[in-house]
C-alpha cells in the first residue's frame, strides 16, 4: 500500500473566468487507500472538484498535492471514470484493447501486457467478452470495461464521477458490491462522486458532503469505522438522516 500517494486539497477555490465562485475554501486530506464518497446536490460543483483533482482544470487559488507534489494536469496516476458510458470508451477498440490503451506506454512487453489485461478483465467479470466492441455491450458491461481500463493503470487515485448514475438499480447494486471487493483486493484510493446518500453509505466509510453552490464548501465530513453492509444495518437510517439534514440545511441558505 505504501507505493500510493496521499492527496491533499489545500484551501482550493474555483471560479470560471468572471463567473461566480463555484467552490470555496475546500480543504481536505485523503490518505492513501481510502474509499471516499463526495455527495452533494446537483450543480454544487462535484464534477468541478473531480476535474480539479484530475487536472482537467486548475484551481483559482490553493493547491492540489499528491504527496507534496503539485498536480498540474491530467495523468495516469489519477484515472477518471465517467458517468457517460456511451462516450467514454473508444468504440473502434475491443474491450481488451480499450483496457490495454493506457498500458501500452507502461508495459512494453506484449505478452506481459496481455496477461495483465486479461487478469484485470477477470476482476471485473468480463473474461467472456474480451473481443466484443463497446457497441455490443450493455451499460453495466461498459462501466466494468471503464473500471478495468482505470485499475489496470495502477493509479494512486481512481476518480469516479457518478459512475453508476445512469445504470438500472439491479446492475448498480451489483457493480457497487464488485467495486468494493476490487478496492478491498487492490487497496488504492477511490474518490467516488454520487448524489445518492444510500449508495455512499453502502460503499464507503467516509462521506464528504458538499453544500449547494455557488460558494460550495464541505459541510460535513462523515466518518465511521466500517461502511454499512446493508440498509437494514443498525445506524444506517440515522446516518442517512444526518447527511440528508446537512444537505437540506445547505440548500436553505
Amino acid at each position: 500500500m505504501a507505493e500510493w500517494k496521499n492527496l491533499v486539497i489545500k484551501d482550493v477555490t474555483k471560479r470560471f473566468d468572471s463567473g461566480p465562485c463555484i467552490l470555496s475554501g475546500i480543504d481536505i486530506r485523503i490518505s492513501r487507500g481510502s474509499f471516499v464518497c463526495v455527495l452533494g446536490p446537483s450543480g454544487s460543483g462535484k464534477s468541478t472538484l473531480a476535474d480539479l483533482i484530475a487536472g482537467f482544470v486548475k484551481p483559482s487559488t490553493g493547491d492540489i498535492l499528491l504527496d507534496h507534489e503539485k498536480v498540474t494536469g491530467p495523468g495516469p496516476d489519477r484515472v477518471v471514470i465517467f458517468q457517460d458510458f456511451s462516450n467514454a470508451l473508444f468504440p473502434w477498440l475491443t474491450v481488451a484493447e480499450n483496457v490495454e490503451f493506457g498500458l501500452k506506454k507502461i508495459i512494453g512487453d506484449k505478452a506481459a501486457r496481455r496477461r495483465k489485461v486479461l487478469d484485470t478483465l477477470g476482476m471485473v467479470k468480463l473474461s467472456d467478452h474480451i473481443d466484443k466492441f463497446p457497441s455490443e455491450l450493455s451499460g453495466g458491461m461498459k462501466q466494468r470495461t471503464q473500471i478495468a481500463r482505470g485499475i489496470v493503470m495502477n493509479p494512486d487515485i481512481l476518480l469516479m464521477d457518478e459512475p453508476f448514475g445512469a445504470l438500472d438499480a439491479i446492475t448498480r447494486r451489483h457493480l457497487q458490491d464488485e467495486l468494493v471487493k476490487i478496492w478491498e483486493e487492490l487497496g488504492q484510493t477511490i474518490i467516488f462522486i454520487t448524489h445518492d446518500i444510500g449508495e455512499a453509505l453502502l460503499i464507503s466509510n467516509r462521506v464528504l458532503v458538499l453544500s449547494s453552490g455557488p460558494n460550495a464548501e464541505i459541510v460535513e465530513d462523515f466518518k465511521q469505522e466500517h461502511r454499512f453492509e446493508d440498509p437494514s444495518d443498525k445506524g444506517f437510517s440515522a446516518a442517512y438522516r444526518r447527511i440528508e439534514n446537512s444537505i437540506e440545511s445547505s440548500l436553505k441558505t
Binding site: 484530475a54 491530467p74 489519477r78 477518471v80
Partner: protein, 260 residues
C-alpha cells in the same frame, strides 16, 4: 426480418425496379418510333453485348476506373490528413480555411481549361482533376469529424496519460475514420462525375469519351451505354465500398458508433 428474407426482399425489389424501368423505356421507344433518337432497350442491349465481346466496353470502363482510382489513391490520404489537422489545430484551420471555402465553390469542371493549359491533354491532367475533387470532399468530412470527437474520449485519453501528439494519432484519427470513410463514399460519386467531364475533352477512351464519340457519330445506343455504364459503375463502386467497410473492416463502420 431474418437475413435470408432480407436478401430475397432486396433482390426482388431491385428486379421489379429494373423491370419497370425497362418496360417504360420500351413503351417510350415504340411510341416515339425514331430509333436514331431513342433506340429500344433490346437494341441497346445487343450493341452492349457486341461491345463487350469485342472487349471495347471493358477498355472504356477500365480507363475510367483507373483514372478514378489513381486520383483517389492520392486524394483520399491528402484530404484526410489536412482535414484532420485543420479540425485539431486551430492555427492550421485559420491558415487554410479561406482557400477551402473558395475551392468548395469552384467545381473541377471550371478548372478543366486551366488543367489542359498546364498539363496538356494528358492522363495527368485527369488525375489532377479527380484529386482536386476527392481530396476536398474528404477534407471537409474529416474536419467535421474531428470537431465532433467526443470531449469525454479526449479527457479519458488524457487521464490515461496521452499527450497532445499521441492524442492526434491514437484518438483523433481513429475517431474520425468513419467520417473519412463517408467522405470517400461521397468522393466516389463526385469523382465519377468529374471523370466524365475530364474524358469529354481530348481523351481517347473512357465512358465519358464513349458518350461524346457516340454523339459525333449519331450512335445513340453508344451514348446510352456510356450513360448507363457511368450510373452502374457508380452504383457498383458505392455498394462494394460499403460492403468492404461493413465486412472487412467492421470496426471502422459508422454502425459501431451509433448508440455505442
Amino acid at each position: 426480418m431474418t437475413a435470408p428474407k432480407k436478401i430475397i426482399y432486396r433482390v426482388v425489389s431491385g428486379a421489379i425496379s429494373v423491370a419497370v424501368f425497362v418496360v417504360i423505356w420500351s413503351i417510350a421507344s415504340t411510341l416515339f418510333n425514331t430509333p436514331i433518337l431513342l433506340p429500344s432497350p433490346t437494341d441497346v442491349f445487343h450493341s452492349a453485348m457486341s461491345m463487350l465481346y469485342e472487349g471495347e466496353l471493358l477498355i472504356h470502363i477500365g480507363s475510367s476506373v483507373k483514372r478514378l482510382i489513381v486520383g483517389m489513391a492520392v486524394g483520399v490520404p491528402v484530404g484526410a490528413l489536412i482535414g484532420c489537422a485543420m479540425g485539431w489545430f486551430p492555427t492550421v484551420n485559420a491558415l487554410l480555411d479561406p482557400y477551402v471555402r473558395m475551392a468548395n465553390s469552384i467545381p473541377a469542371i471550371a478548372l478543366i481549361p486551366f488543367s489542359l493549359l498546364w498539363f496538356g491533354v494528358s492522363e495527368f491532367s485527369r488525375y489532377a482533376l479527380i484529386f482536386y475533387t476527392v481530396s476536398l470532399c474528404v477534407l471537409l468530412s474529416a474536419r467535421a469529424g474531428v470537431r465532433s470527437v467526443s470531449e469525454i474520449q479526449i479527457k479519458a485519453a488524457q487521464s490515461l496519460g496521452l499527450g497532445e501528439k499521441e492524442m492526434f494519432v491514437r484518438v483523433v484519427i481513429p475517431a474520425v475514420f468513419p467520417s473519412i470513410l463517408s467522405g470517400v463514399r461521397t468522393g466516389i460519386g463526385l469523382g465519377v462525375m468529374v471523370i466524365v467531364a475530364a474524358e469529354m475533352v481530348g481523351a481517347s477512351d473512357g465512358l465519358g469519351y464513349l458518350i461524346m464519340e457516340g454523339r459525333s457519330h449519331f450512335a445513340v445506343d453508344r451514348m446510352i451505354i456510356g450513360i448507363l455504364g457511368l450510373g452502374l459503375l457508380s452504383l457498383f463502386l458505392d455498394r462494394s465500398f460499403t460492403y468492404i467497410v461493413e465486412h472487412v473492416m467492421p470496426r471502422w463502420s459508422t454502425k459501431r458508433r451509433v448508440g455505442n
